[in-house]
Symmetry: C2
Subunit: 273 residues, 2 copies
């Protein structure tokens, strides 16, 4: 039987809120001490710190269709903030709670190799799309009861660091590790889960199967919009793609409820059937 | 017989010079590919990048007796620059030369634990003095043919990151690893080695024994100053202390001559006798 591995993504709004982050890391450390015999990989986004630093340094941020363009100066900033400041502070906090964590970027130990995004009309700059995950390195660290904290910076094996979406990194790691572990992929963010009514936090869909998801995507008779919040659709499509690639379960829910998310007592659990 | 391990410190002036750094890393990668069967740990300083960023962010740098005081804002800057920008760029460059490197701060995997410096009259701020080195983690990575790149940031195991002198980190790692390896500790900087005449690059002392060092520290008859450049004395005292603590050899020389330094064809080799 494969042992269980949790790949947990924490969103930017948790990073930006010192109290929330501290609480989250305490829970994480309690759940993933060596005694528990459970492995975990934490993937963090960047939050608003990079944007704030860019403003201070008067580096103008370009957005195309809501996506940030990573020019050379912005790449330098996100490398400093994500792989330096945020990553090392998370690791130091986990260490203080006796959780032996190691912080890595995708360049470290060739953890995540990527290529510069090619797009017919838009130059996204130094943005990387993932090619491969070094599962051997992750396994070796997990075998030593070390938890891994991954910053969303990858490299192209030709000396270039690349800014990479943290949701995608979590998904790619979860998929690659499914060969060796029963992987739960957990997206923790500010909402209680996938909501039937986006304005009602109590309308969490507890179990979302492929069949039910297809139903929710189909507008009700006489309506135009799907019943599910449109902004969630790309995330959910990715979640089902991850299941297709061997991930055991995808869980979406509130970072503050990490323990209940893992125990299946909160959030939305996404399964094939 | 113990296998050989090289602990190499590169000085700030190499970090600041892109061409010199690139050349150095190419040589490093050639020497320490898995095929060579030799392990290496690279410790880097910070150079002028942190000072430059502090100026841009209008964070005033305080110096007491020539030593930088690390206040909270400066700690944030050095964490970003040392553990983020410099560390990850070195790793990405080594990866491009097929040298599988991993970049770590002292917090990662509890690599280097330290305590906040206590001083009777001066508050150095967030500066750490080293308590311990996690040799198990280093051995495990070296066994996987991974080279380690260490940023001069440590932690106190209570959640605090601390700015730590890179020369000291190199020395502490070399000393701790001497239990398991025959360790060469190499300080590479801008000079050709320890010079008899500080203004003459050709006056390199090729072999410096304890006995010869004591002679050089004693002023010649009728003279007041020791024959050796006063600025080198603390470095050399530390070098001999490292030998006392089990380090096999200490080598001091030019970063551009790394290969010759290792082969004993350049620089100053410091031995007990």
């Amino acid at each position: 039987m494969k042992s269980v591995l949790r790949v947990i993504k924490i969103g930017g709004n948790i990073i930006d809120d010192e109290t929330k982050l501290t609480t989250f890391l305490k829970t994480f450390a309690t759940l993933f001490t060596p005694l528990q015999g459970m492995g975990a990989i934490l993937v963090h986004g960047g939050g608003k710190l990079a944007t704030k630093l860019a403003a201070q340094l008067e580096v103008e941020q370009q957005l195309i269709d809501g996506r940030r363009i990573t020019d050379a100066e912005t790449l330098k900033i996100v490398t400093m903030v994500y792989a330096g400041y945020i990553n090392k502070n998370i690791v130091a906090q986990l260490q203080s709670h006796n959780c032996n964590a190691i912080g890595l970027s995708g360049a470290d130990g060739n953890l995540i190799q990527s290529h510069k995004r090619q797009h017919p009309t838009t130059d996204y700059g130094f943005v990387g799309d993932v090619d491969s995950v070094n599962t051997e390195l992750l396994k070796s660290l997990l075998d030593q009861n070390i938890s891994i904290v991954v910053a969303p910076i990858t490299h192209n094996k030709e000396g270039l660091l690349l800014n990479t979406n943290a949701d995608t990194i979590a998904q790619e790691i979860a998929q690659a590790m499914s060969e060796f572990y029963e992987v739960d992929l957990i997206y923790s963010f500010e909402k209680s889960g996938v909501l039937l009514d986006v304005n009602d936090e109590s309308s969490v869909i507890r179990n979302l199967t492929k069949k039910y998801y297809e139903e929710l995507k189909t507008p009700l008779q006489g309506m135009e919009a799907p019943r599910i919040f449109a902004g969630m659709i790309p995330k959910l499509d990715n979640a089902f793609a991850a299941l297709d690639k061997g991930v055991h379960r995808v869980i979406i829910g509130k970072a503050e409820e990490l323990q209940d998310l893992i125990a299946g007592k909160a959030g939305t659990s996404i399964n094939h059937e």
